[in-house]
């Protein structure tokens, strides 16, 4: 079954860049503009992987992670942090919440895909 990937970022451009990176693989991409919407999307779609920003209005990435980990049915969801913030306290907080993959913006598609491929099966789309 093809993985579902949720991109959570307040920047529409970043969400589209993430979607573009995964577009050549057999997967479903969904988006959310903050942690609150991200939690709602997670409960609704049960994504296999979340690509998560930190600094966002309404609810930031760490708060979304805390709520995710507190939910028995969602706590095992795999997460890659994709953020401009490399504050050691944030990195530590994220690591304590079980996230081992941390990408600092700016990012390259290949860097994101390499980390994603460690967590979900990415099958290239058949060429026409």
């Amino acid at each position: 079954m093809n993985p579902t990937i949720l991109s959570v970022d307040d920047s529409s451009l970043v969400r589209r860049a993430v979607s573009r990176a995964f577009a050549r693989f057999e997967c479903t991409i969904i988006e959310a503009e903050n942690g609150e919407v991200g939690l709602h999307q997670t409960r609704q779609h049960k994504p296999d992987l979340i690509v998560l920003d930190y600094n966002m209005p309404v609810m930031d990435g760490v708060e979304m992670l805390k709520q995710l980990r507190a939910d028995e049915s969602l706590k095992g969801t795999k997460v890659i942090m994709l953020t401009a913030n490399s504050n050691p306290e944030t990195v530590t907080a994220v690591a304590r919440l079980g996230v081992r993959e941390y990408i600092t913006k700016p990012f390259q598609e290949d860097q994101l895909l390499a980390k994603a491929a460690r967590l979900v099966a990415l099958v290239p789309k058949a060429t026409e």
Partner: protein, 171 residues
């Protein structure tokens, strides 16, 4: 043990940040300008992104100013669109904020590496510069200009660095 901490030189930190963000995220290069670029006729054609930096020993603002035409190019490069494509206004505003956010992240990481732990706020974007003058004089200010794809932009840092505890034994 020597705890003395000098104020970091901002110019090389900013130059590295500009290079990294433009090359990694947009596949572009920046050429430094000797003088700050003149503000385009009318602020309405300029985008201003600001990210607040806050920490115990460093705080202030990182401000980016760029013309709409450069935002068009950067959006196109970020999304793999034709170089001549025109971005929507929301995309240009988004670009200004995210570009400033990435630059601030790189600068913040370098300052953390120099012992000035900091955190960053959410980017704020305007078309009209609201902070023409600082509310208080900042001890370390940097202003620089570059061209990218033939279009000018500028970056300014207004940061205050607090001395390390051992530099000020009365504290």
């Amino acid at each position: 043990m020597n705890h003395t901490m000098s104020t970091p030189a901002l110019a090389p930190i900013v130059a590295a940040a500009v290079h990294n963000v433009l090359s990694i995220q947009f596949g572009l290069v920046a050429q430094p300008l000797e003088k700050l670029p003149a503000v385009a006729a009318g602020y309405a054609a300029m985008l201003h992104g600001t990210v607040a930096m806050f920490g115990a020993r460093v705080y202030g603002d990182i401000c980016l100013s760029l013309p709409d035409a450069l935002a068009d190019k950067l959006v196109a490069h970020m999304l793999g669109l034709p170089d001549t494509s025109t971005a929507s206004d929301p995309d240009k505003l988004d670009l200004a904020g995210e570009f400033c956010n990435m630059l601030a992240g790189q600068i913040g990481a370098a300052l953390t590496g120099s012992g000035y732990l900091n955190d960053l706020g959410t980017p704020q974007v305007t078309r009209v510069r609201e902070d023409a003058e600082d509310a208080e004089p900042f001890e370390s200010r940097f202003e620089g200009g570059w061209t990218c794809a033939g279009l000018p932009y500028s970056l300014s840092l207004s940061l205050r660095f607090e001395p390390h505890e051992s530099d000020n034994p009365q504290c």
